[in-house]
Amino acid sequence: MAIATQTREMSSREMNNVEAVRETLHDALVRDDRVLVMGEDVGARGNVFLITKGFLEEFGPKRIIDTPLAEASIVGVAIGMAMEGLRPIAEIQFADFIYPAFNQIVGEAAKTRYRSNGDYTCPLVIRTPYGGGVRGALSHSVSIEALFYHVPGLKILAPSTPSDIKGLLTAAIEDPDPVLFLEHKKTYRLVKGPVPEGHFVLPIGKADIKKEGSQLTVVSYGLYVHQALDAARQLETEDVSVEVIDLRSIRPMDRETILESVRKTRKLLIIHEDNKFGGIGAEIAAMVAEEALFDLDAPIKRLAGPDVPAMGYAITLEEEFMISTERMREAMRDLVNF
């Protein structure tokens, strides 16, 4: 079983994803004086999902900063703090608002270590909720990972279970390089699970096999991991055995786990919410075709978001965009039967 588990005995409590983010941030603020949180409405409001509720009172306005409405400087000022020895956690209220900060993320944060040849570093975390299925419409539902995973110098994480969130967000805060931490907003309250108490980190760049199987490899991340698992479990009753890999880390990506799985099952289905063209699936498919062509017993398939700018407000438009568990099950079954 390739799941990365904590080997020492830790007590754990059941919580959902948003609580896991909250606990991780809180613990980091307590543990390390250099850590601070900044973003719109993170202070008095406690963040629009109540992630930082009470933090302002506990840690003070110097460490919990309600920034002006200005994404480029939320990231830019955080970069300066990071270069000067602090450990800022910058929040972009919704991933859809991240575009003004693109210059700072891609042109500055990603290149700080590289252009100074290691003289300066940028230990920065940028957290943001992404993804649809919450009636968020055109500007509160997008996925942004494909825009950034292309950039060397950045790390991109998208865990979707509470314990993965705590382990990886802690790792991100402690990482010496800039990390974009994506939280699927629909999973905030929807996904629950056990979370170990106390400090622990998961390695950045490792995927997790959430379910083992022998006839098909499914790679996914975010909300769809959970739907894929549902579909795979339903297929078990039809005697179909599907392996589900939760990517967790988009850059660096765990190619070894993917390749090992494909060599075993010989078939690959990638499922992601983001638009299909140029999405993460394209890179995975190219990599697998390059490295494991002669292990493939079927074409690599991608089940992904339609190539339209965003999902609409009307429920019919949102449902057309989002992929149902039924569709996933069909796609899995088709590929297994190929």
Binding site: R266, E290, L293, F294, D295, L296, D297, A298, N337, F338
Partner: protein, 417 residues
């Protein structure tokens, strides 16, 4: 020591420069870094600093003249102790480190996972099946696929390797010793289909079900042609290392008639009858377990000798299984030497996509009626034609065939190969 000064490269994309103005004249002293000439390019006008100190000895390029980057423009006699930074003064004025022409990184051999070049019998199976079939020595043609549309899956190969006897379980009556093959058929056995036989069967069915076949024939008096061929054959064989049969003569007549009757060199499609520009003649070659149709391209451009050599080469390569995909593609009309085995009448099946297939039957001496109602013994060769009735009707087909007959009967010892 005299130092040649070259035209500097003033800008990444600049390839030449014009001397705008000399700021020094021969005999003047120049200090290193002192501006001594003004150069203009399409990007900038610039004063160029001297790379060395000394006396300007000679001006090579005059004001207003344009020369390429790196060309000599002047000579300076260096004076005094040369500084340690000027090993070769030419180098100072040389173009800067070559701008970004990134050499492609050494091309590393693509990973093939140890799988060698494809074998035609494995076409159409997935990469995993190919690899597994090789690794476990399983003949894919002996496997029945359980995948979608009867596809052979990796599991099928693995299962076959695990239980080889289970594979041909659909032939319960076969006490075969496993050596019954197409070339060596044992009565009472069922010979598994090779890929080739499968394809032939598929194609024949497809042709018969698509093109409505019609048939016609003529008798051809090849007495003169035969005499001609007899006269030429020894010399030809000596000079070209291969036999001279009637085939090239026949092909020459056929391509002439095809040019006159282009509808016979066409294909039927729902969009219309495609009349081909090139005349590419397929030659039917019978192998022990296979039928192949290599193509002589642009056969109408070849002489009889050219046709003999082209056809002979193709047939030879076909027999040695050395034909490539190019040799088999693009045929527009087929010629079949059915007479080689003694046949006097054949009704061949059209290769898919062609409108006609013509045969040359055996040459048989017969008594025939000649001019004046006399009886003579002549060499007679039947020529048969199967045709696609969607493209041509009896009228065109017989006219074509008569034209072939006429050409053949006109060939004689006075002709040139």
């Amino acid at each position: 020591m005299p130092t040649t000064i070259k035209m500097p490269q003033l800008g990444e994309t600049v390839t030449e420069g014009t001397v705008a103005q000399w700021l020094k004249k021969p005999g003047d002293r120049i200090e290193k870094y002192e501006a001594f000439v003004e150069v203009s390019t399409d990007k900038v006008n610039a004063e160029v600093p001297a790379p060395v100190s000394g006396i300007l000895r000679e001006i090579i390029v005059q004001e207003g003249e344009t020369v390429p980057t790196g060309a000599a423009i002047a000579v300076i006699d260096e004076a005094g102790a040369p500084s340690h930074a000027e090993p070769v003064a030419d180098a100072i004025m040389a173009a800067p480190a070559a701008p970004v022409h990134v050499a492609a990184p050494a091309h590393s051999a693509p990973k093939t996972n140890g799988v060698p070049r494809s074998d035609s019998s494995l076409r159409g199976v997935s990469p995993a099946v190919r690899k597994l079939a090789r690794e476990h020595n399983v003949d894919v043609t002996s496997i029945r696929g359980t995948g979608a549309n009867g596809r052979i899956t990796a599991q099928d190969i693995l299962a076959a390797r695990a239980a080889p006897a289970a594979a041909p379980a659909r032939t319960p009556s076969a006490p075969s010793d496993g050596r019954s093959t197409y070339t060596n058929p044992i009565p009472g056995t069922t010979i598994p289909l090779t890929q080739a036989r499968k394809i032939i069967a598929q194609r024949m069915v497809e042709s018969k079900h698509t093109a409505p076949h019609a048939w016609t024939m003529v008798e051809v008096d090849v007495t003169n042609l035969w005499a001609w061929r007899t006269r030429e054959k020894d010399a030809f064989e000596r000079e070209n290392g291969q036999k001279l049969t009637l085939l090239p003569f026949f092909m020459r007549a056929v391509v002439g008639s095809l040019a006159a009757y282009p509808l016979m060199n066409a294909s039927f499609s729902d969009a219309g009858i495609k009349v081909h520009k090139d005349i590419n003649v397929s030659i039917a070659v019978a192998l022990p377990d296979n039928l192949i149709l290599p193509v002589v391209r642009n056969a109408d451009k070849l002489s009889i000798k050219g046709l003999a050599i082209a056809a002979g080469t193709l047939v030879d390569r076909a027999r040695r299984a050395q034909l490539g995909a190019d040799d088999l593609a693009g045929g527009t009309f087929t010629v079949n030497n059915t007479g080689a085995n003694g046949s006097i009448l054949s009704a061949p099946i059209l290769p898919t996509g062609q409108t006609g297939i013509i045969t040359m039957e055996a040459v048989v001496k017969r008594p025939v009626v000649v001019t004046g109602d006399a009886i003579a013994i002549r060499s007679i060769m039947n020529v048969c034609l199967s045709l696609d009735h969607r493209v041509v009707d009896g009228g065109v087909a017989s006219a074509f065939l008569s034209d072939v007959k006429k050409r053949l009967e006109a060939m004689g010892p006075s002709g040139t190969l």
